[in-house]
């Protein structure tokens, strides 16, 4: 049963990633692109987690944690750059 659920999960997250990519390419303003990348990072974390369940291994969690941290830091750095014209003042 978990196998079919994972197949559905892979499908849903992949479609979600494609939709994010569409918004990233189309997005009329810069901030649209920033939230598109932020959502893409979260979807990538979900994909890594599902892949870990699929193979029954916990090796990938470090990758997911690193993705979470770098996604947040890059979004905040980009927003600060837009706001202040500088990342670290």
């Amino acid at each position: 049963m978990i196998h079919y659920a994972l197949m559905f999960g892979f499908f849903a997250v992949s479609v979600a990633l494609l939709l994010n990519l569409w918004r990233l390419a189309k997005g009329p303003t810069v901030m649209d692109r920033v939230i598109a990348v932020d959502t893409m990072v979260i979807n990538a974390i979900a994909l890594i987690i599902y892949y870990g369940i699929f193979h029954g291994t916990t090796v990938y969690f470090e990758a997911a944690l690193l993705f979470a941290m770098f996604g947040f830091i890059s979004t905040v750095a980009y927003c600060r750059f837009i706001l202040r014209g500088d990342v670290i003042e």
Binding site: A12, N43, I53, L65
Partner: protein, 134 residues
């Protein structure tokens, strides 16, 4: 693995996938950025929480319990509102003139907190000096 746990893990995986998809569809369909911001910050965060709890349950039952997933859930739930706040603030400041026209009145003497400093605060006086200097 017994059937009951397998059913719960499958349900959490499916719910997570649905919410992640709904978050991304919302980001495509909603009309403008301030509305679009709602979809990834709420639906997607709920979806990733569900997916990670499926993983916690799966590996806990398989005898390989770890707190990494709980750490990721905690981190994402903590950072999603901060990200949304930063994006909204940067968006408002990017189009300041239009935003000041569109925003409803605050009903008090000082305006919106992101544009006007609090009246009488040290930061406000500092801001005035900066404005005078140009």
């Amino acid at each position: 693995m017994n059937l009951f746990v397998e059913f719960i893990v499958s349900a959490l995986i499916v719910i997570g996938g649905i919410f992640l998809l709904v978050g991304s569809v919302g980001m495509i369909k909603l009309p403008e950025l301030m509305a679009r911001l709602h979809a990834p910050t709420k639906a997607t965060t709920l979806g990733i929480g569900s997916a990670l709890f499926a993983s916690v349950l799966f590996f806990a039952v398989a005898g390989d319990f770890s707190v990494h997933e709980v750490l990721i859930v905690f981190f994402l739930f903590l950072t999603a509102p901060i990200t949304a706040h930063f994006v909204a603030k940067a968006h408002l400041h990017q189009r300041r003139e239009q935003a000041l026209k569109e925003l409803p009145p605050t009903g008090s003497k000082c305006g919106w907190a992101t544009f006007d400093p609090a009246p009488g605060s040290a930061e406000g006086e500092l801001q005035d000096q900066v404005d005078e200097r140009g």
